[in-house]
Subunit: 359 residues, 2 copies
Amino acid sequence: MVITEVSLRKFTTDVFLAMGCNAAHAQLAADVLLKADLRGIDSHGVARLTGYVRLWEKKRINAQPNIQVVHQTATTATVDGDAGLGLVTAPFAMQLAIEKAKQFGSGWVAVRNSNHFGIAGYHALMAVEQDMIGFAVTNASPLVVPTFSNERMLGTNPICYGFPAGQYPPVVIDMATSAAANGKLEIAQRAGNAVPEGWIQDKDGGYTTDPFALKSGGALLPLGSDRDHGSHKGFGLASVVDILSGVLSGANYGPWVPPFVAFLEPSANPVGEGIGHFVGAMRIDGFRPADDFKSHMDNWITRFKSASRIDEQQGVVIPGEPEYEAEIDRRQNGIPLVDAVVADLNEVAGKLNVSPLTT
Amino acid sequence: MVITEVSLRKFTTDVFLAMGCNAAHAQLAADVLLKADLRGIDSHGVARLTGYVRLWEKKRINAQPNIQVVHQTATTATVDGDAGLGLVTAPFAMQLAIEKAKQFGSGWVAVRNSNHFGIAGYHALMAVEQDMIGFAVTNASPLVVPTFSNERMLGTNPICYGFPAGQYPPVVIDMATSAAANGKLEIAQRAGNAVPEGWIQDKDGGYTTDPFALKSGGALLPLGSDRDHGSHKGFGLASVVDILSGVLSGANYGPWVPPFVAFLEPSANPVGEGIGHFVGAMRIDGFRPADDFKSHMDNWITRFKSASRIDEQQGVVIPGEPEYEAEIDRRQNGIPLVDAVVADLNEVAGKLNVSPLTT
């Protein structure tokens, strides 16, 4: 099923309204999810909407949060999300970071007591639109092992940096710190295909290419896959994200991070509140005139695109460019949804008295 | 040869003094190099000293730089290093970031027109000692390919984050964004051993385990090694470092970054000045009381150290802990130097009328 941006946006907004979100929050949350679908990051778009609804049904998401700044200096702050949608609390935090950056050059905001915030790129791009460098990270349900362990201790903890360019679209690095994203594993599971070695390990920490190993006690591997190839670096990066998002904000961290899926219960002895995010913004013209920066960014991009190729058919991919192209295409031609997602969404819509999806 | 910290520090300071550095700069530059040797990062310590001397002989390092802040806001700045030692310009920049953070919560400083800055961890730890989160990155001589390319476009571009803890030593993530550091390759070359697949590629972008492939036109691979295992993420991280260090500061970037080795000439058409760094500091108490943070850091560390093990003999390694233990050991028992390094150092010392190394 291919659905227009307008229809999907209305449907998604209606679901959030039915959960009790106010109009501004419903529109914002829908905007964050739609941005993922438009940019071709299907695993983080409306496919997750029913997950949010199930957490709300379990009272783990508060649709009417009182989001508050609980601690701040001129350029730093901690926000308590009051168990609200991360789709709402993270943009709130980034807006605060941007205001601080406008006044003082940079702004950095930690968020606790939150939930899954969608794609990190949405938040970083808020800063990029203001001629700032945007930064966004979040911790997440423990699925990833540290090097040498067979215990799930970390989430896929994404890191995102966004940089404005001139003639080119922004450069956006938005990456899980695991070797493979969970979404890729799900694709292999649906197809029944083996996954490359180095993506996952079995419950004993042994070698496996079975995409279902995660469901029988296995785990995702950090970026680098094994010690020889730098898995300690992927573990280190995931740790940075966990510390900034969880330890700094007062959220949970490590194995205490509450699971995204509603059928798993959060820890009975949490070390903080909810999950955590950390976002930041730095004014480009705090370092050099923005036009100088952007023209050098264009030069950087041009030069990397022209780097010599191993295979003539495949050039260097500038981070963020495929997503930008998907966005242009999908705004015009609509967003493809797989049948299972459509059925899932319509089932939830029925329960909430929301009109079903239409093309 | 095992040499005491005191002797090695005096020797190193004397070499910098002989280059014409003032006393404060010579002591600081020696302190940065010694810190690498003490922490067991031998590739970045005094083993590099003769490299700095050779660049100075070629007039590519200015021993008497006029380091200047050329642009700033309350919490951001750009520093021109006047072609000085990165061992001096980077601490200058971090000190400025710390001062800004003391006043406004955070501080971020880009450096252009600099040279190799030693271990990133030194600079990040300056902030950690002030109960701040420290951040330090630098671009470097192009040795690493982007995914899908066989052209060296990026340095091993390290990323470092440092976090203070309470009872434990600071957590310090200090990592090259390539699959393997160049130093590991050099060890394999000396031993004549094949390297694991996924560290390097040959000049055509093909598979190789030959440690000498880099000397015949090959290149280092980004963290992740190949596209299936996330090399686009390693490429993305190296790009973040290059943009923050080079494009933002007005230094060179990508393939224009001047080589560290004196026998290779810099580009005749540079896009900026020298190499670039980017450092930052954020006050912990800008987010939550520092004691709360540190006690949760201790809890984080304790929990990760107790994560279940694949092999009973090998627990999870907390980033920064092995280096901390090396520092305690080497301060007490001295610093081991391999014969080739000692010979190289004494040769340079002879030219500069500096007394040779003594235990």
